[in-house]
């Protein structure tokens, strides 16, 4: 448990110390040092909690008597999973940044302190069991990430994106604050279990208010996660910071919003038959993100913007799984836990391969100073390891076996389609879930298409010598990518261990009785088999061991056949139809991929051009109060000044009247003395 405090302390200390050092490499090394200490401690703590099924709880500091809030730490399996993600990705990001920041002209002072504070607030967020401090860490995350988004202060785009980002998330947090204070008035405590009890009461007595509170939570988390239409800020904001920061954003920050949804819907909001409809709402918005996000991604030509749209799409997958899980949590617990496990597993997998992909984009930027897919080509020559890691990342995000994306997508597809077999659910809901499942399968192919475009444009193709600086990438930039790629492969090949962890996370954080792990999954070292209900055994399966071993045997056979045939190898130039061409003429740019499909999905509505179902620019927001309001609320002009003028005119008149002639002086004198005499007699006449 102390590990948590030490790691938080080391990250905060790192943030303070790197603010004092101007040298880029020096502060980078310092940041790596502190992050690695913190990562080791966090991984140790997380693995301890996950393997031994422990829960740590402790109350550190209380704000009584002012407010019944305290820093209440709780590390259970769900928090441990996300601590694991934060630890791994933060270490990789820092290691990558050491050399990477030197390709920017801005000072590293505006990079390392904010990103280390971002790590610290992420660590804090996943361990807190108290609503007030949860909001505190939530806003701190927004604050520090905003500083990173406006890293390049002179670029107009970065500023606009940062403004949109901060305002959108702050409005969402205002909803969260509103919900928190309303709940406090009923529960008189901010701690999650008290909130759970009072929310239960509110939902029973006043279900409109209860659903409004759930709505507030939903809006807050869904905006941060980047789900369309609330997450309109995301494609503008994620490409702006340096790629290592984008890697942390896309890899961890949006997943922390998913963590918040999980934590709140499992431990804070009591799920009854009235609130299960929220599962459907979550799944619905998830599917909208999946569909629009990924199709819009297909039409993008700039690598980081492409990946940001994919981040939106992938968050949709997680929400689909979680939504199906929440909907069926009372009706069919087996299906529900499979869907929730799929959702959490997808969050874990996604953080690994999304960070990896953003780091790839960063490596491309480092070498060629641009991430525009129309201008880079053939980089596999100078970055072979990066290209390999990028391929692993691309195949993982598309969900190709044997990488990790396949397993989580398998669980999500199967659970949304299996809802057809649940007899107690409504027909329309079942039909809707199946449509959601099919849309997500279709979009999986589009994800593959989009990333093949990325790989083909950036790494394959003719290599242009002129734009490259330096030789190979240094090990500090390749090692993080290799680490993340290895995790992708290992998690895909041996899914039974991670799935047990995810399952434990759900069991521990949920307050409902759910079936045991061995009833739902038959998992061993070779793979997993899935049981969807008490009696339907093993209706889904994935045993990578057998698949991989047979693939290896077959490939050995075919290779030996080819060897035996003994064809000679001769090197030639690429054939272009008989003519010699310069490299620029024969490079197939990213823009040209999938043109017919792009034309199908682009259209114009009311003056805005929708490229891939996503508007290419938003209409500018003009905001002004009507003139008459601003006139009324400034009483100077219509009240005070006229009044003052009136009064001064009156007194001027009086003084004029007084100053004319001497006889008027005598007149006033006599009048005044008469008046005083009358008054004196009136009041004191008796006494005299």
């Amino acid at each position: 448990m102390e590990y948590l405090y030490f790691s938080f302390l080391s990250l905060t200390l790192g943030a303070l110390l790197t603010a004092l050092i101007r040298n880029k490499i020096g502060s980078g090394v310092l940041a790596v040092l502190f992050t690695s200490i913190s990562a080791v401690l966090l991984i140790d703590l997380a693995l301890d909690v996950l393997f031994n099924n422990k829960i740590f709880e402790e109350e550190v500091f209380s704000l009584l008597p002012l407010l019944n809030a305290s820093i209440f730490i709780r590390v259970d399996a769900l928090s441990a999973l996300f601590l694991l993600i934060v630890a791994i990705v933060s270490f990789c990001v820092c290691l990558f940044s050491v050399k990477y920041i030197s390709s920017y002209s801005q000072s590293s002072l505006s990079f390392y302190p904010p990103i280390l504070s971002l790590f610290a607030s992420s660590v804090g967020l996943v361990c807190i069991k108290d609503l007030l401090f949860f909001i505190l860490f939530w806003e701190m995350m927004t604050l520090t990430s905003w500083i990173l988004v406006v890293f390049e202060r002179e670029k107009k785009q970065a500023l606009k994106a940062g403004l949109q980002y901060f305002i959108a998330t702050h409005v969402a947090t205002a909803f969260l604050i509103l919900a928190a204070v309303i709940i406090y008035s009923y529960s008189n405590s901010f701690e999650f279990s008290e909130v759970y009890k009072s929310l239960g009461n509110i939902l029973v007595n006043n279900s409109l208010l209860g659903n409004f509170l759930i709505f507030c939570f939903f809006i807050a988390f869904v905006t941060k996660a980047g789900v369309l239409p609330f997450g309109f800020w995301l494609p503008n904001a994620y490409p702006q910071p340096p790629s290592s920061a984008s890697s942390f954003f896309g890899g961890v920050m949006s997943k922390l919003a998913v963590y918040a949804i999980l934590r709140f819907f499992l431990s804070v909001i009591p799920l009854s038959s009235t609130t299960e409809a929220w599962g459907f709402v979550i799944a619905f918005f998830g599917v909208i993100s999946i569909f629009i996000g990924t199709i819009a991604a297909l039409t993008q030509d700039e690598a980081k913007r492409l990946m940001s749209f994919h981040a939106i799409g992938q968050v949709g997958y997680m929400l689909l799984g979680i939504g199906v899980g929440i909907y069926f949590i009372h009706i069919s617990p087996f299906l529900s836990v499979i869907a929730l496990t799929g959702g959490i597993f997808h969050a874990f997998n996604n953080s690994i391969y999304k960070s990896l992909l953003f780091l790839n984009a960063g490596a491309i930027f480092y070498k060629t100073s641009t991430t525009d897919l129309n201008r880079v080509s053939g980089l596999i020559k100078v970055m072979p390891l990066t290209a390999l890691a990028a391929m692993v990342g691309a195949l993982s995000i598309a969900g190709v076996p044997p990488f990790n994306g396949f397993v989580s997508k398998l669980l999500i597809f199967e659970s949304s389609i299996w809802s057809a077999r649940v007899n107690e659910a409504l027909f329309l809901v079942k039909g809707a879930f199946i449509i959601f499942g099919i849309i997500s399968i279709f979009i999986s192919a589009i994800t593959l298409a989009s990333f093949l475009k990325f790989i083909n444009s950036a790494f394959m193709g003719k290599f242009k010598e002129e734009d490259i600086k330096g030789g190979r990438l240094s090990w500090s930039m390749t090692l993080p990518q290799i680490i993340l790629a290895t995790i992708c492969v290992v998690t895909g090949l041996f899914p039974s261990v991670p799935i047990k962890f995810m399952y434990d996370a759900i069991l521990v954080s949920s307050k409902i009785n759910l079936p045991d792990f061995n009833q739902v999954f038959s998992a061993d070292i070779a793979g997993i088999g899935i049981n969807y209900c008490q009696s339907c055994l093993s209706s889904g399966a994935w045993y990578p061991l057998f698949i991989i071993s047979s693939t290896i045997m077959l490939s050995l056979i075919i290779f030996s056949f080819e060897r035996y045939a003994g064809a000679k190898i001769r090197e030639v130039k690429t054939w272009y139809g008989g003519k010699e061409h310069t490299p620029e003429e024969v490079i197939y740019t990213g823009h040209s991929f999938y043109q017919p499909f792009k034309e199908i999905v682009s259209f114009k509505v009311g003056g805005i051009y929708f490229k891939g179902f996503y508007p290419s620019e938003f209409p500018p927001l003009k905001f002004a109060f009507p003139k008459w309001i601003t006139k009324i609320i400034q009483p100077d002009d219509w009240f005070y000044y006229p009044l003052a003028n009136l009064i001064s005119k009156f007194f001027d008149r009086m003084s004029n009247f007084y100053e004319r002639l001497n006889r008027y002086y005598i007149f006033w004198f006599v009048l005044g003395s008469l008046l005083v005499g009358i008054l004196v007699f009136y009041f004191y006449g008796g006494k005299l």
Binding site: I380, V400, P401, K409, L410, E414, I417, A420, R421, F427, K430, G431, I434, I435, I438, I441, F442, A445, L448, A449, L452, I455, M460, G461, K462, G527, G529, C536, S538, S539, G540, A541, W542, Y543, I547, S550, T551, L554, S555, I558, E562, A565, G566, A567, I569, R570, E571, V572, T574, W575, Y576, G577, Y588, S592, F593, Y594, Q595, P596, F597, I600
Partner: protein
């Protein structure tokens, strides 16, 4: 399943899909020639072609290592996909190890292998072919997925063996019939023959994805295309028309081969008598078909 029958089943599947596919390709060429009033090559010609190409000079036009290895991946993945199709009985050999989604993704890997080969070859014609191949794949895959999912909903399990067993037992119902029709209408696109062989269009983009390949690599891709034909016809015939099934392994295999021959004959007829579609026409056709096939799902949901 005990180990011997598993092993035997695996061997039969790989034999049918890999080793018998050039024979079916020869059959195709003969039928096409007869329609075009030619004599045509002998039926074993495709074997001779592959063997000859394996020994021919291998032209290396790029140092990209992926160029060397991905053609083999396409053949291997088709072989792996075949292990998920039931030929010798009601259950495929790898029934216990993977389900319909694994099958769909292995089909995707076939496409990926060819696309990676194309992009590694640095030739813009290959890129055009790769881009078209991907678009075709993503428009036709939903139809297969929807059909398989219809089967899964009806059967109550995602495993291919269970679906076939259920279908064999309970006979056709409206949703499965609709799914069968949809798969049949998309079969040309799945196999990749005219009118849907847009990515290997000889006249238009100088054979597209195959342009830089020669020698063993060309042999592998040609072999992969032949095996693909047999594989998808097997999919259609074994999963969607699983009758009759006997207890004998050899008899089942022969029945499967017979059904595949009929379907290949029909497919070759369509191929010889039609022009090639443009890519946007093909896209629109497939996407419309995919949207239409959703009704099969709803019928399955209703239990019909």
């Amino acid at each position: 399943m005990n180990f011997t029958s598993l092993f035997l089943s695996v061997m039969v599947n790989i034999f049918v899909v890999l080793l018998l596919s050039p024979l079916f390709d020869g059959f195709t060429r003969k039928v096409r020639a007869l329609i075009q009033s030619r004599v045509g090559p002998p039926p074993l010609q495709s074997y001779y072609d592959i063997l000859k190409l394996m020994g021919k000079e291998d032209l290396k036009s790029t140092i990209n290592p992926l160029f060397r290895f991905s053609p083999y991946l396409s053949v291997i993945s088709i072989a792996m996909a075949s292990l998920l199709i039931p030929v010798t009985g009601l259950n495929p050999p790898f029934n216990f190890f993977g389900d319909i989604f694994l099958f769909i993704y292995i089909i995707t890997v076939v496409g990926i292998a060819i696309i990676i080969t194309a992009s590694a070859s640095e030739n813009p014609f290959a890129y055009v072919g790769a881009s078209r191949k991907m678009m075709l794949h993503l428009s036709v895959e939903p139809i297969l997925a929807i059909a398989l999912i219809t089967g899964a909903i009806n059967a109550g399990s995602f495993k291919i063996g269970d679906i076939v067993s259920w279908y064999h037992l309970s006979g056709p119902n409206v949703s499965m019939l609709l799914a069968t029709v949809c798969v049949f209408l998309s079969l040309q696109a799945l196999i990749g023959k005219i009118p849907f062989d847009i990515s290997e269009a000889e006249q238009e983009i100088a054979e597209g994805v195959l342009i830089e390949l020669s020698g063993p690599k060309y042999a592998c891709l040609k072999w992969a295309n032949m095996a693909r034909q047999v594989l998808f016809c097997l999919v259609f015939s074994q999963i969607f028309i699983p009758w009759p099934i006997t207890d004998s392994l050899i008899l089942n295999t022969l029945i499967a081969l017979f059904k595949v021959t009929i379907i290949i004959f029909i497919s070759t007829l369509i191929e010889s008598l039609n022009p090639r579609l443009r890519i946007d026409q093909a896209l629109k056709y497939n996407l419309t078909l995919a949207g239409f096939s959703l009704t099969a799902i709803f019928l399955a949901l209703l239990g019909v």
